[in-house]
Symmetry: C2
Subunit: 159 residues, 2 copies
């Protein structure tokens, strides 16, 4: 079987609906193309409003709306900075919540690299410490690589 | 610095634009909420048109359009089946391309679990082999856990 294993009361898919799904909640926050690409840019080090708009390829109106949403949701913080002789501007920095999108962004990139890049992924990610290629993986906390049918999905026990 | 390390000609963000970005290409295919949630369902074992619509919470028209796009893009295959006394129906099964979204889906779920579940994630994912919790992680192929500033991003060398 090429699916996860649903346990207990989850086993009959017709008997439940995933109303509290945290994938869906994640998509409430980063479920638009522009939100994900702005977060990509923040991981690259983009901090300025006009650079987010230019590099993501969106209008300043869309960039302003999306950055405001991402700040409100807690993925970015907006901080003032001032260069000599210039007026005060703002820059956007990743929060812990924003940084923790790294596995999702890396996973999307490697999926795109594998299937949508005509065999020529544009970028290479390597580990600064040892030079080996970097991947997003699914593992258990014991360190075992885990494939789809090896995953048990159960309701969280009530305390 | 809380970003990846951009190498070589990528180091000056103002000097390049991520036109070939495979995160963006991935979002061309799975960049809608309904596409991601249909893929979640396929990982759970949902196969039937009406169950995709019901469990994702979308109209049959949206489900039909999205399933067609996901089949055309290669993430699902549509296969006929027939129960005794019924007319022929179709079911949707994951392809390798669809299965390989597992790290992205797992990463989105754990991010939602961490930040958007009020401390009460609804589901628990464990490894069938050893019972340990399952996570999406960023690692290098040497097995080192990799954090954001440990990642070098470089242009892929031309052959």
């Amino acid at each position: 079987m090429d699916t996860v294993q649903l346990e207990g009361k989850l086993a009959d898919l017709r008997a439940w609906t995933p109303t509290q799904c945290t994938i869906a909640r994640a998509l409430d926050v980063v479920g638009t193309r522009s939100a994900i690409l702005i977060m990509r840019e923040a991981h690259y080090g983009t901090t300025r409003f006009d650079e987010f708009a230019r590099r993501v390829g969106i209008t300043e109106a869309v960039a302003a709306a999306r950055l405001r949403e991402l700040v409100d949701a807690g993925l970015l913080v907006k901080e003032p900075y001032r260069e000599p002789g210039q007026r005060t501007r703002h820059e956007y920095q990743l929060t812990d919540m924003g940084r923790d999108l790294l596995p999702a962004l890396t996973a999307l990139m490697q999926w795109g690299d594998a299937y949508l890049a005509d065999g020529k992924p544009p970028l290479v990610l390597t580990h600064a410490g040892c030079g080996a290629p970097v991947h997003a993986e699914v593992r258990c906390t014991e360190g075992h690589a885990v494939d789809l049918p090896d995953i048990l999905v159960a309701p969280r026990p009530r305390r």
